[in-house]
């Protein structure tokens, strides 16, 4: 299903394209405060770059750059960052997710502390969304085996 096609045009175009997609995903995250964007959208763009890498190269290349262990770690790390930010606010004497209290440990006033608190949780959302999207795609497309398989019905009758 996912095997190397050895198509030089597709591989070259995608090799140029993927870094720009990843930079754009980070841009969408960083500018989520001033323009449309945020963690969910940026995470999907980052995941799309890995999906493009999967379909233009092969599965081995993606597993080499973004291993399954790292993927599972990132899935839970994002939720951990989000809930951890809320818990830090709780420990500093505010309500859960009351980012204004972060001004006690950040060198800013309470209003800008809310700004940075939101940046932190959007980062967590982005990490989780990216890892989960890549994980769901890889699991669905390889039927959970995470290895390159040749479709058996195509092998016989599509003789070139």
């Amino acid at each position: 299903m996912i095997r190397e096609h050895e198509d030089i045009v597709i591989q070259t175009v995608c090799r140029f394209f993927i870094p720009f997609m990843q930079a754009y995903g980070l841009y969408v995250l960083a500018h989520g405060h001033g323009s449309p964007g945020g963690g969910f959208q940026g995470g999907c763009i980052l995941a799309a770059s890995f999906i493009l890498m999967t379909i233009s190269y092969d599965l081995k290349e993606v597993k080499r750059r973004f291993s399954e262990k790292l993927n599972v770690l990132f899935c839970s790390l994002g939720v951990f960052i989000y809930a951890g930010t809320g818990l830090v606010c709780l420990l500093l004497g505010g309500n859960f997710l009351n980012y204004g209290k972060l001004s006690k440990i950040l060198p800013t006033d309470p209003v800008m502390a809310r700004y940075y608190g939101m940046a932190a949780i959007e980062t967590g959302v982005q990490i989780t969304v990216m890892a989960i999207m890549v994980s769901i795609f890889l699991n669905l497309v390889t039927a959970g085996k995470h290895e390159e398989t040749v479709e058996e019905e195509d092998a016989g009758d599509n003789s070139k």
Partner: protein
Amino acid sequence: MTRKFVGILIAVIALIALMQGLKDLPKWADPNQPASIHVSPRYIEKGIEETGVPNIVTAVLADYRGYDTLFETAVIFTAGVAVMMLLRRSKR
């Protein structure tokens, strides 16, 4: 035949009951509907000075409705873990 008739009857009664409830909803794009006069003006007027974020969507999503977004993220996480549990087969 009787069961089919009863089913249709229940569907018609439910439709009439729902249409009755429809009369109490505010008109489409009415500026005085409860959703527009309860919390929206507060978010629009005080959003920037309370949160420092120019994008009001982000302010509502991540600050005023922080719990919602936290559990949205948890739902995505649960969906991914469920797909992993159902589909992932490790090599034996």
